[in-house]
Homo-oligomer: 224 residues x 2
Amino acid sequence: MRSAEAEDIGGEAAAHAVAQDGRPLGRRGLRTRRRFLDATEELLRETGLRELRVVDIARRVGTSPATFYQYFTNVEEAVLAVAEDATADIPPIVEHIEGDWAGDAGLDRARKVVKAFFDYWDRHYAILRVRNLAAEEGDKRFRAARMATLKPLTDAMCDRLQHAHDEGWIPLEIQPYAAAAALVAMLERIGAYHNQLERTEVTWRDMVETTARILHQTVAGQSA
Amino acid sequence: MRSAEAEDIGGEAAAHAVAQDGRPLGRRGLRTRRRFLDATEELLRETGLRELRVVDIARRVGTSPATFYQYFTNVEEAVLAVAEDATADIPPIVEHIEGDWAGDAGLDRARKVVKAFFDYWDRHYAILRVRNLAAEEGDKRFRAARMATLKPLTDAMCDRLQHAHDEGWIPLEIQPYAAAAALVAMLERIGAYHNQLERTEVTWRDMVETTARILHQTVAGQSA
DNA sequence: TGTAAATGTGACGATCCGTCAGATTCCAGC
DNA sequence: GCTGGAATCTGACGGATCGTCACATTTACA
């Protein structure tokens, strides 16, 4: 439910959003921009990246393609803006990571992290997978957007691994930053397709519990 | 180096390859088809998925777009064929997984697996990331292609985890299939961007060693 | 209410898609 | 080596999307 006063028109970027000619956007402009972004994400869920057409986005918003180009130079830019919005939901997950990972409390912490991460991907899967592809294809803006979400997670995880080192919980051959990256990579990939894995043999609960245990074992090692 | 006698024109699929009207392909046709596939993969490396144009593929092969459509109904189908070819390099990795994972020998086995997996991704990254996107976007053919490469790996890994269970190396709460999927997911994701992680702080060797240890710890647990 | 800024659009040339009829190349059999 | 039919290739075309521009409409506010 949105009120007219506190209308949600997007994250950081939207506040400074400008039209293609550089002028700052007014109330109506911001609303239109947001509708384009919503339509972009919807179409990304419904059809694939390659089938994403400016015409379709404009049609869904009920406007003409020409209008679209007043807000974005091309589809990629709209997709990028959607991707940047997804960064806003990361801080709560980081908070779950910070704290004590020792023993059973740590295992429970691991479960919370995994659940939060799965939930995050379930909400944003359409844009996240596209963002990651673009990042891997070398687009610097998308790479920066991915970094903005993964760095806080990796840093927090790295911090815990460093602590585990100091406590002697895990072997010295495990490089904290490398391990943090590996664990985040695991979470990211499973987040992307855990729903495809869940069948009769493997349930959502199995995936969460097992992933949490791998995570905990790696971060807390012999702490129990 | 290719001889005229034993010309490599592609994997399984190519042998049964037919033109769009159903006729089987002759010698020249198979060669042309292979050139289209090579050009497709090259362009996938050089430009992105969204920029992949039939015109460009045809131009690179030195033929007209019309010719392309005699071999494939659209770009997706050519991309799919390239993806299916990449399955051929999987068996050697599976062989590395099979065997005893206990103790230091197991750790060494883990290293071999990680190296082999990284190498596999380095060779095929362009097509693999596109294949995975298409699979996640719901395309059944791409999903099947991914399954064809990941299932042997996951099954082999699952087998080792089951064995670890039986030996009491790892806790019962770790579900073998779920854990196998998680580990393969980790390998896949790190394979996709380990080169972006490797900087002054983290070297290729760090990534291999750390990933191998996470892998070994999860598969062999307290076996040492 | 009037006016300037903000926002939206029709129309257009360029490019790509996918198809088809017809041209060109290959090769087996004479 | 010649030839007819099969295999392969292509020019040309209608349809669709892209991205741009000059101009129309709406909004904000004095």
